[in-house]
Amino acid sequence: MDVLSSPLAGSLLVAVTWLVLAAAGLITAGNAAFARRVAFPLGALAGVALAAFGLQAVWLPAQTLTLPLGLPDLPFHLRVDPLAGFFLMLLGSVSAGISVYAAGYFREEASGRLALISLQYHVFLASMAFVLLADDAYLFMVAWETMALSSYFLVITDHQQPAIRKAGFLYLLIAHLGAIAILLCFGVLHGGRGDYTFNALRAAELTPLWATVAFALAFFGFGAKAGMIPLHAWLPEAHPAAPSPVSALMSGVMIKTAIYGMVRVIYDLIGSVRWEWGMVVLVVGAGTMLFGVLYALMQHDLKRLLAYHSVENIGIILLGLGMSMVFIGFGHPAAGALGLIAGLYHTLNHAVFKGLLFLGAGSILHSTGLRNLNDMGGLIRVMPRTAFYFLIGALAISALPPLNGFVSEWLTFQTALQTPLLQNGVVRSLLPLFAATLALAGALTAMCFVKVYGIAFLGRPREPAHGTPTPRSGDAGRMERYGMAWLAAGCFLLGLFPTSFLLMLNRVAVSLTGGGLSEEALSGSGWVWLAPAAAEQASYSPLIFFVVIVAVTLLAFFLVRRFYHGRVRFADPWDCGFPRQTSRMQDTADAFGQSIRHVFGPLYRMDRSLPGPDDAAPSYALKIEDRHWYWLYLPVARAAEFVSSKIALLQQGRISIYLLYSFITLIALLVFVR
């Protein structure tokens, strides 16, 4: 009974429930109502349960379980420790909101298709849970590949469109490049003893060189899944291609399993973290962050834009982790723990607000059929509830207090401010510069979301000629709204009560690095005050902040009403007295990015055609492409084609030649094996 009520058994049960729901959808394939009314809501409930089990696991010692499944003599090992518990909580709580939303979102899907989506969706969820539960490389890789495949099939749900098939293929390709690197990394870690349990990998003694090789492989492999540059190319293609709840799940949760893998391998399995690795992570993280946000600013497809922001946020998470590795490498576990906490906090925050934003984008798509920002406008009047939830997500991702994005950026800044501890002068002066890039990225994100919100929800409908955004079905449906409300509440919860999450993450940090925040930081200042180092060094109290800002705003309102009046007259917009205004004179998404193109021009590959002064029908075209395609992906693709065409010479298509190859191989082997 004790085992059954444990978080490990509970999590396993949830994963199995998801698998059962997946299969049950197939049995009742003719009945779309089953998926909508039973599978997705039950999946959401299971998610809530998983979040509770994960939360419990953070506070308990690690538990292990061996399942007699898998290959003979190679059973599955399961383990739940605080790190896995934290990520299980993330998976459960965020997927709960998304599943509820999915129940409403797929209301118009045909039965057969919906059964298939439900199958892939729940297998996807279960495989992510198994990635987090795995305690040996074998189960980990099986779950990892299941996750990649199930999400691949979800991405190509609309496989009739060639662009989507192409996006799916790119995703599968890079996912497998990453998987190979991860496999090799486990190979390096295990050092030839034939035991692939994580315990054995942990115990292995590596020379610094081999440890660095393992780090590089893990960073590459998991980075490919996370979407860090230059391996990000699949992300802005694949995430928008999927149905919106799946985009939310991929951007919100799946890329976080890559962060989990990175932390698990680097902090736990390799163990001895070196500061040089931290610098690599920092440089790649800062590059990823700036690249992501600068390309997001250039997008006018809402879901693509959000996908680029996922790239950016992975960069922010990597900054936190990188700083943590630098501090741990120099022997400052408390500051290292703070960086790790900042990174993991942002992981959770990003899951919540990016999930929310993708769901909002889904509701817009559902109601108006639009994904292109340049066709939207004034949606706040027809979809006020969606507009409200989307605003919360937009403010959260822009790292504005008192919502959750700000808390994790604040913690990252505080980590950077611990830099006087470091002995190395160069590194000491570099860390604050990384913090400055974070500030830049934060402000650029705010700009980008002013653009998104201002163009989609505010203003007036653009282009009334071709298809105004008059929603076919009004505001988002009930289930869709519940899903968004759940995640929006998460933005507030994580933003206003950070101390409880800080304590939780401190447990995770202690279990991984052995060092945590100081006692004073954890208990001295009470639950209202967030003070990671010491109260007089830095503190932030979002709750008081929020209460005061609401209070003074309301006070201002009532004072104005009390002493003056609330009279309003309505008229046409003034606009400096400009007489003829049309809705086409508003900024478009591309117009909004113009100043960015001007300032950061060399970073983009731009193809622009401007109308001449005498054109009768002036037209303007702008195409922005990712430079990585041209200096990295296309050369690699050409090289791969060249090599395979050379190798193809071996393939003569005649059986006698193939027999000759076998013969030569056998002879060669006989030389080696006496």
Binding site: L391, A436, Q537, A556, A571, P573, W574
Partner: protein
Amino acid sequence: MNYGPGIAFQILQSVFVVLAAPLLVGWVNQCRAWLQNRSAPSILLPYFTLAKLFHKDAVMAHDASPLFRATPYILFGCMWLAAGIVPVLATDLPFAPAADIIALVGVFALARVFSALAAMDIGTSFGGLGARREMLIGFLAEPAMLMTLFTAAFISGSTQLTTIVDTLAHREFAIYPSLAFAAVAFLMVLLAENARIPIDNPTTHLELTMLHEAMILEYSARHLALIEWAVAIKLFAYMTIGFALFVPWGIAEAGDWSALPLAIGALVAKLALAGAGLALIETLLAKLRLFLAPEFLSTAFLLAVLGMLTHFLVRG
């Protein structure tokens, strides 16, 4: 711990800042008029303008959303909050630990995002133009601002503005070369963030050059009054942040009522000088082309970085 006097001081200070802020704007305008050989308006003119605006009926576009109507109050609330965090007359304010300098930058960013959103709400061409330019200046200024604040934070070992002031004003007297760089950077950021020449011209309605004004074109009456007032508080807050970081002398400790006259005297003197200096800058310089703003603000950023590196090199 007895919070009583501290809280009284806190409320007193934030009300003082809110009420005194238009006076500073009046003073700057007066100085500028003198410097430009014009006859100066009364120093109280901003108050009269506010009173006039509050009495008028608001005119609003037909399809203004609730966000448009709420934004003036949110802006005012944000600035009021900022007025409560910055140690203007005294340090050790009980509310100050709720938000350190990073959160303070966050408050200003929050206000900026809301004003840019409200600008886009009506759907006019100028609104979008203003929002776009304001956010451009915002993302250029924010890293420079944080670097400046980090330099001060490294010197005092804290991001708490009150602690920084305590360290710099009460404990030891020393001249920090790093702060000299930071001060110049801060001044440049102050000009940009407060829509002053050379980045923006607060007196222009020339549509092609305006930034801040373009955003608030659609506002009238009490909403406009609240925004103008919030802008005044923001200038006041920025100046007092500058005083707190670079010339903190004369500030009183919480509950120390006897030091209050001195603190007020010091503050008035500093503000008078800073306001005159601002007017001088605005008279001597011309507005920069919009796309020179990145150069201006990246200079500010580099100066701030130099300040920080100087701190690490010479430990001071």
